[in-house]
């Protein structure tokens, strides 16, 4: 695999628009498509509404699961979110993309629900991550002093012959990865789900979560590293 490959891009029909970041220069087609969709929604076009719901529902439920840890509750949260979207359509100012707005509503509702439903609060919800303190990678894998300080003492072993497809063919590996994601603290889980699982662009993820890009990458890397360790253990275990 080429390490310089750019991020997997998605071809979501509602595109990736962040009006708060005008320097992004979204392709006019994307902006127009969103404007057309919004205008159809406001006119009460049921087809447009079905399209919107069908397109985002799964991603919303999966993301909500990161906050409430119970599938039925997650589905209720998203159902409530859609009701709020219907109510709020006329107030939506288009300062962010529709998706950013919808995900923002869902996260607000999911967090609120997570707090109220104490019985659903699981172990990972209690764990918070110190943004600056914790190392992503175990520091003991590097030389601590001497000429080679900061360089690998125990470098990772190549995953020879491993392709994503091969790993995904193993139910055990898939379970291990799912478990690793599930066990992430919430602030790592939310960035991993939005950015890598759902493939939402970094700037939009920052808009949804109201965090800086620096913060996003600190969290995202910690999350990816934890999954990497899981795969490493699985392969070498």
């Amino acid at each position: 695999m080429n390490v310089h490959t750019s991020t997997v891009t998605t071809s979501l029909s509602y595109g990736i628009v962040s009006v708060q970041e005008p320097e992004l220069e979204q392709p006019p087609a994307v902006v127009n498509r969103e404007a057309v969709l919004l205008s159809r929604l406001r006119q009460g076009d049921e087809g447009a509404f079905n399209e919107l719901v069908t397109h985002h529902h799964g991603a919303l439920v999966r993301t909500a699961m990161g906050y409430v840890a119970d599938r039925d509750v997650a589905e209720e949260v998203v159902q409530d979110t859609w009701m709020a979207v219907i109510e709020g359509l006329d107030r939506f100012e288009g300062r962010s993309s529709l998706r950013t707005w919808i995900f923002g509503i869902m996260i607000h509702k999911a967090k609120d629900r997570g707090v109220r439903e104490k019985r659903h609060v699981n172990f990972s919800s209690f764990e918070s991550v110190d943004e600056e303190g914790e190392e992503a990678v175990d520091p003991s894998r590097f030389h601590q002093s001497g000429e080679w300080a900061g360089h690998w003492a125990f470098p990772p072993q190549r995953w020879d012959d491993q392709t994503p497809e091969k790993l995904l063919a193993s139910q055990q590996a898939v379970n291990a990865m799912n478990h690793a994601i599930e066990a992430l603290p919430k602030n790592l889980k939310e960035v991993l789900i939005l950015r890598d699982v759902e493939g939402i662009e970094a700037k939009e993820v920052c808009g949804i979560l109201k965090i800086t890009e620096t913060n996003l990458y600190v969290r995202l890397h910690r999350a990816r590293e934890r999954v990497r360790q899981t795969v490493e253990t699985y392969l070498e275990g």
């Binding site: 799964g58 995953w159 995904l168 995202l220």
Partner: protein, 89 residues
Amino acid sequence: MAQEEGQRIDPEITCHEVVQWASAYLDDHVGDERKRQIALHLAICAGCETYMKQIAMVRDLMGMLPRERDVSPDLQRLQRAFGERSRRP
């Protein structure tokens, strides 16, 4: 870790640092100078090259994980609510 601005970047970079920049680097969210520095390091460091490939693979895997099952909204209820909204004066 996104762009650093106005900071002088030391030409030497340790494996420990490369590892911390890995995700930002893969997503092309590091400054040009930092990017060159990391690319140079990767060209001569097998450990970091392996690490970077593994993080890239994890990133790609996350989008490919099988979905548990399709989730369907209560579309009828939503359509009813949407229709009522449209009929409001």
